[in-house]
Symmetry: C2
Subunit: 353 residues, 2 copies
């Protein structure tokens, strides 16, 4: 049983109970929706970040981790078309770590992003751990009653969009695994002995490392798509386009056709992959952690979509279909897009022959 099956099992357990007080959406979406009965719905999300699994201490400056802890939860709130207001942080670390600058720099990075979006740190918990750093990031937001966007609202004929560009975060992770490290802010370029090409590669590497370590949640787009009732369904790209589109289609009980050529790739991914015989499309499809928004729009609403929000454009990458499969068209062939994104606990079937 993989984690998605187990979550589905928990959802069944929860739905079979009678006392689901005012829960409009619970397990199985980017965040939960609770009716506040004052014309507003409360949106709640929680995300665990575990050292050695979700981040590697040596490759992750504490400030960037503080940013990312909040960013991943803001991205979930955005994926509900809601506005974030309050954050709660549960942080565990070893006694050794407690006596370093880690916690100060972590909260510095957290507050920089929180201030940017007017989010208040309203509570939390601090605990000791025996080994790794553990962070649980909780964000609460609000949407006007009934305006929150679920994964389940996509209908055949809806157009499929993504914000920004894809593949950069996965490329950044690969670079980290190869030993690349983010430059300290203010570090000076090494200068005249570099060729123009290696300087340009260095810049691309730094950009991709930051795509992985300093993700930018699409808070503005989330609010616009929710409040103006533009998106029929939405999810954020955390596991990878192939997996997240699968989640959305499953919840909506639809399929999709994706146009490979329309998937917007991070320019730096093209630049570096070209020289290293890596496939940028595979990174974009299965890589995950881009924290862009994937959403569907009824054709009637397409003309109301803004071109950009906060400087970020969108791309139409396909269409919702009434067959149940997810197909991708590349050049003149069409193949089934199987979920190939991140899983914490792959089911045994998928790892044994």
């Amino acid at each position: 049983m993989n984690e998605f099956d187990f979550i589905e099992h928990l959802r069944g357990q929860t739905n079979s109970r009678k006392h689901s007080t005012r829960v409009l959406a619970g397990i199985g979406d980017d965040a939960s929706i609770i009716s506040e009965s004052s014309g507003r719905d409360l949106i709640v999300t929680t995300d665990l970040l575990i050292e050695g699994v979700d981040f590697h201490r040596g490759a992750t400056p504490a400030r960037l981790l503080g940013h990312k802890a909040l960013a991943v939860s803001l991205s979930d709130i955005a994926a509900m078309g809601a506005r974030p207001f309050w954050s709660f942080l549960a942080v565990g670390m070893s006694r050794e770590e407690w006596n370093t600058n880690f916690k100060d720099e972590f909260y510095e990075g957290f507050f920089a992003l929180a201030d940017h979006y007017g989010v208040t740190l309203a509570g939390g918990d601090i605990s000791e751990t025996k080994h790794d750093i553990v962070i649980d990031s909780i964000v609460l937001g609000e949407a006007a009653s009934g305006r929150a966007v679920k994964r389940s609202g996509a209908r055949p004929g809806d157009q499929i969009y993504v914000t920004g560009n894809l593949g950069g975060a996965a490329a950044g992770l690969k670079l980290i695994e190869l030993g690349a490290r983010v430059s300290e802010p203010g570090a000076i370029a090494t200068g005249s002995t570099d060729t123009a090409e290696s300087r340009s590669d260095d810049d691309a590497i730094q950009t991709l490392l930051l795509r992985q370590l300093l993700p930018q949640p699409r808070v503005g787009w989330g609010i616009v798509l929710g409040e103006q009732q533009l998106a029929s369904a939405m999810i954020d790209l955390s596991d990878g386009l192939s997996s997240d589109l699968n989640h959305l289609c499953k919840e909506s009980n639809v399929g999709a056709t994706i146009d490979a050529a329309a998937i917007p790739l991070d320019e730096e991914v093209r630049q570096l992959c070209g020289r290293r015989a890596l496939d940028p499309l595979a990174l974009a499809l299965h890589g995950g952690e881009d924290f862009e928004l994937l959403f569907t729009v009824n054709p009637e609403n397409v003309s109301r979509l803004p071109k950009r929000v906060d400087g970020v454009a969108i791309s139409r990458i396909g269409e919702v279909a009434d067959h149940k499969s997810i197909e991708i068209k590349e050049h003149n062939r069409t193949w089934d897009l199987r979920p190939g994104g991140f899983e914490h606990f792959p089911s045994r079937a998928s790892i044994s022959p």
Copy 2:
């Protein structure tokens, strides 16, 4: 800097910001209060439980851990005088643990308690860890506008009460450290070769183990004390009476006088400690994790206090004073009660000479 100093530092950082949207109480209480502007306030608490720190896997059946994860957060909601409604669970475990029965039994224990109080599992997260089990338990509740009970409302002359009996959870922890283990439900007593005294000790040991492993949050008392506006200040006993009373007095800017003889001790603690030359009072004062409620009552309201709620009685243990110290009277001497409860990260000053 210990964790309480650091939390105070974070609170200062948060309070210096201008965008604290509708946060009526944030960092520094049992839970946070957010105004819902519909005649209700939202109450939010989060609690980390880390394997090897907050529980020991070998001594903690997964069902009991599932119960305790929810119980500690329900206790925080009770300490705010609020009613719990929704739970969110972030759970991390290793791949090895994933393939055991742990998760099924954990959620079984969780749902048994959740169902008892009509609490809905409304969301969460599941992640892999490299080593230990990690649980973050989040509970949301509600109180009528302005009715939530903070730590800061105690006034000189208020009477100090606790629910139930103290010391049992700490005694249970000591027994676990000595190798005692909880009997599986349905296990049969070993029979006739036991003396009456050893049988009675066995029963006491099992009771104390369950005080540690299966804490009963005082949900009913919390609701009564909050909704009927009986408590002027409240906190739950998680760190230990000496520490938690200190937190309450600090927030209320008052002192207190406690009558040692009035502190209600778990009967089994007396029974076992008597024979082992342990001090039951020290366990009650500094032990922690009893998850009883400590609250203050204006003398005018004392007559309105119910004798019992859900079968649990209360004891008057002292009085709020206008001096700033916390004194305890035992026999005919009076001494300062210094916080001696649990800290994850003791300040260096207190552990070095």
